[in-house]
Amino acid sequence: MNSKSYLKIIFLFVIFLLVVTALINYIVDPGNIYTKYSSNKNKLTPAVYIKKLLESNYGLLMPKNTWNERDLKKTLAEYPINYDCAIIGSSRIQQISSNRQNKSLVGTCSDMKNLSVPGATLEDYLAMSNVILKNTEFMPRTIVFGIDPWSFNFGRDKRWVRYEQDYLEMKSTLFKRHPSTHLNNNSNKDLLINLFNFQYLKRSLSVLFKTDILIVPAPEFNHSKGLDFDVMLKDGSRIFNGLYINKTKNSINTVSGNDAYSKYKIIANSFSQDEAIKIFKKLVRHLKISKINIVFVLTPYHHSVWNYPSQSIVRSIELIEKKVHEIAEQYKARVIGSYNPINIGCLENEFYDSIHPMDTCLIKLESNMTVH
């Protein structure tokens, strides 16, 4: 074989393999980002999942890598049912629940829909608020925003593009402009790159050969011990799986305030953006005009994080906590909790890791409440 043929074969075969990969990722689409549940053999949709969830006694299992949680939470927000509070935020407040054995925010919410999603950012606040406000007949009395130290920034995560249209609609409402119907170029570029992602391919292949049942009711169980899978309770809150709970129980003494995870989404010297704060204030004002009470929840960071006062994470936490109180004062909102666990009496062993408190810590949040 001569060199030209050798190069040609490599070129053509690489192209062939990449095309096959892209096709598998596009057709199987385990994250349901290209097609709306087209690969789902049983025609199971988020609407079916949420209906079954609300009919269940103890919640539904959430097998890993099956459902896109933003789709589920959006569907839960749209579901025609009366409720008192909507919880919007990241994984740091996913344990807040009116259904679990350790109920939290009992003085604030009689019942709730926990609409928090992993990696939530400012864009998620806008998108989910839009979904809530569109459901005009079943609006909550209160919206609880779980504010994280990275919240007042744009672009700290990309997962919100799942409901980008809702984000754009809310943005245009706030700025009184016609909503854009086009996805931004960055999203399209990311979606395209994702077609050629090895991790996504592995996930696609595992879904392709998966026999897991996507909707399985959870049996009655002890929430502090968990089950084999994560469980979504009827209010949308999450119970972690037993393996994860045990792992964190055993490793709690190794939680380090100096690890990379404690700095999740924190960028040194870029703690907040003026434009992001401006749009968040507009959102709060808009919700107030819609006669919705606003509550800000500050979920604590592990004690070990506070051992590094000169680090960006601590400076960021202090700055954002102050900023949240300023915004709350301006819009007569309530602030519950604190990033500092000592302020609310959380113990060192009441955390899963440096940034995720357990339910036993979250039930103490209301011990630190500021009404402006």
Partner: protein, 347 residues
């Protein structure tokens, strides 16, 4: 090397050079993106934990040090191969930089195989001007130590790099001393194996200060690696040991699990990665050996790249090689974008 640039053939694309260069580049890309980045997730948490003062177990510490040992090698040699490959596409040959360093059977041998361009620079512009071995045994050892400490500082201004350099200086002094005493002794297979094992362990230990961010991090990790924190064995072994009457000093052997700090997801996968990369680094031919017939790089020492015993393993322009390279290029491209942000994950 420089006279090449005056030749007309350089700067002109030639299919033969493209084929050779592309193959070398593909192998380098795979080493960097798949192997080095793949194992890095098992090194970083261990070193971070050591910095944070976590009491690491014996096995965690060794797995972290070994993972970093392979991460660094596949990362750096991958980059070097990519540079060699790109240059070769344009008909240029660069000097060899890595020659299976983890196959070395002595520290002197290691430094003839690891970052060859740097070690040659240190030898020519530091060690020899300092007097090299020309001014007696004592001065030779002092010169070695000075050269290696400055070599450490070349990597970064920090005490950990000084420590790394000093450690290698010490290793080289011991190695030269050993050679002087045992010169002329014949080599046996068993002897070669022990020489390799001691060299490899010494190198792994030296990477601890190289990677750690502080002296306390180095101390924490080395304490765990030397068993100062005790050796924690799997919980289910306790009954077996007790049944056979095998009792240990309480503080030395415990049964709390080999990886009880849960620093990374799946310990079994971590162990598999380490063994796989150990196998590749010590038993597989390197890129230069595979491509030897096409002289991919300038050799610093004559006969540096050893000919393969099996001719079939040498690279040729065949259909099977083309398919193999296509697969590793594809896997590398797919791995370039890292973790998909669109995947459903817990946080």
């Amino acid at each position: 090397m420089l006279p090449q640039f005056a030749k007309d053939v350089v700067y002109k694309l030639h299919s033969k050079h493209l084929a050779v260069g592309m193959t070398i580049f593909a192998l380098g890309l795979f080493k960097k993106v798949v192997l080095a980045d793949g194992i890095s997730v098992y090194a970083t948490p261990v070193f971070d934990a050591a910095e944070a003062g976590v009491l690491l177990t014996f096995f965690e510490a060794w797995s972290g040090a070994l993972a970093y040992t392979f991460q660094l090698y596949f990362d750096f040699s991958g980059y070097s191969d990519m540079a060699l490959g790109i240059a070769r596409m344009f008909g240029i040959r660069l000097p060899l930089n890595f020659n299976s360093p983890y196959k070395a059977t002595s520290i002197i041998d290691f430094w003839r195989r690891w970052h060859i361009t740097l070690s040659r620079f240190l030898r020519n512009y530091l060690y020899i001007p300092l007097g090299g071995s020309r001014k007696g045994k004592v001065r030779r050892h002092i010169n070695l130590m000075i050269t290696m400490i400055l070599g450490g500082l070349w990597h970064g201004a920090g005490w950990t790099f000084v420590l790394w350099g000093a450690l290698h200086g010490l290793y080289l002094m011991i190695n030269h001393g050993w050679r002087a005493v045992f010169i002329g002794r014949g080599k046996t297979k068993v002897g070669s194996f022990f020489a390799w094992a001691i060299t490899f362990l010494a190198v792994v230990v030296s990477w601890v200060p190289f990677r750690a961010e502080s002296i306390s991090g180095v101390s924490n990790l080395l304490k765990a690696m030397t068993g100062v924190n005790g050796i924690s064995l799997p919980i289910n072994l306790e009954n077996i040991f007790v049944n056979y009457g095998l009792l240990f000093p309480v503080n030395l052997i415990t049964f709390d699990g080999m990886f009880h700090n849960f620093l990374y997801g799946d310990n079994f996968v971590a162990i598999c990665w380490i063994f796989l990369l150990l196998l590749i680094a010590t038993f597989f031919p390197n890129t230069q050996q595979l491509m030897r017939n096409y002289k991919p790089a300038f050799e610093t020492y004559r006969g540096e790249v050893v000919k393969l015993d099996h001719k079939w393993a040498e690279w040729k322009q065949t259909m099977s090689w083309a398919l193999f390279i296509s697969i590793i290029v594809t896997v590398s491209i797919l791995s370039l974008s890292g973790e998909s942000e669109f995947l459903y994950f817990q946080f």
